[in-house]
């Protein structure tokens, strides 16, 4: 049967679901912002040119939207899903509220929003959805990312 819900049969720690954990903070530095922007091939002077950014709308270098992917945080809550031999990014949903700026201290909270299993044509897949919320040192939420990771047996 396609897409049968198998979640009840999957072993994982249900106590972490929906609980926010502090996963640390990050200083947004010029070095990391420009390093990230160059690696992507960005050309926008607001990310790369300090002098141009000074005259821009923020008065300081800002980070490209996807800069969050380069932020190292502490490991978030682990639902300890006992399934599969390999895992991949399945999907990602970002909401951008305002840019991160050089000089910001960004703090992040993470929760495991859902764990669910599906069995379809290619076998069973177990999805873990994590929600990470990033705030700046003014206490404003700057972005939210919901990432879904899928576990499966290799060779399926």
């Amino acid at each position: 049967m396609a897409d049968m819900d198998q979640t009840d049969a999957i072993e994982f720690d249900r106590s972490v679901i929906g609980v926010d954990y502090d996963v640390g903070s990050h200083e947004v530095t010029e070095e990391q912002v420009t390093g990230f922007a160059r690696a992507i091939g960005e050309t926008n002077p607001l990310y790369l040119d300090k002098e141009a950014a000074k005259k821009g709308p923020y008065g300081v270098l800002i980070a490209p939207p996807a800069y969050y992917t380069s932020i190292r945080l502490q490991a978030g809550p682990d639902p300890q899903v006992k399934f599969g031999t390999t895992s991949f990014n399945a999907s990602q949903h970002c909401e951008f509220y305002e840019p991160m700026r050089v000089g910001d201290t960004i703090s992040a909270k993470e929760q495991v929003a859902h764990v669910y299993a599906k069995t379809g044509r290619t076998g069973t897949l177990v999805f873990t959805v994590r929600r990470t919320t990033y705030s700046n040192h003014h206490g404003r939420t700057v972005m939210m990312v919901e990432s879904s990771n899928v576990r499966r047996d290799m060779g399926q």
């Binding site: 690696a39 709308p57 490209p64 190292r72 399945a90 990602q92 951008f96």
Partner: protein
């Protein structure tokens, strides 16, 4: 770069694709900034052990390409508000990636000019590496 205005777009409007041809050097620079030093994005051997022909591009890097594509289009007076994608296929350094965007809906709500787009990254083989939707805010024509 010229600014695109809300009045310029309607459903069916297609953005000029952004072509990305990520090199191994760019991938290495990305994983370095990311702080990843092992695994399928860094080591050909690790990637082969997982059945790939060599290192693959992280989904996060593709996500960053799409974000670049949309923010460049939106211009300095526009804003990328939401990006939502499904990762579908692996891509590797040397692949030619086209970032594609198509406006599907527009509307004004709470004083914001909202543009909804279908977005995807297609390889030179015509396969979609990731696809999803985006919300971009555009300014009114002065």
């Amino acid at each position: 770069m010229s600014q695109v205005y809300f009045e310029d777009v309607e459903p069916g409007y297609e953005l000029t694709p952004l072509i990305k041809e990520p090199t191994r050097e760019q991938l290495d620079a990305f994983t370095k900034v990311w702080g990843t030093s092992t695994g399928r994005f860094v080591s050909d051997e690790a990637a082969r052990n997982e059945g790939f022909t060599g290192v693959i591009i992280p989904g996060n890097m593709n996500m960053a390409f799409l974000a670049q594509f949309l923010t460049e289009w939106a211009g300095s007076a526009g804003k990328l508000k939401r990006l939502e994608v499904d990762f579908r296929r692996w891509v590797q350094p040397g692949d030619r990636l086209s970032c594609v965007g198509l406006v599907t809906d527009t509307g004004t709500e709470d004083g914001e000019n909202r543009v909804i787009l279908d977005v995807y990254i297609e390889t030179q083989k015509g396969e979609r590496a990731l696809q999803g939707t985006a919300l971009v805010l555009l300014p009114n024509k002065p």
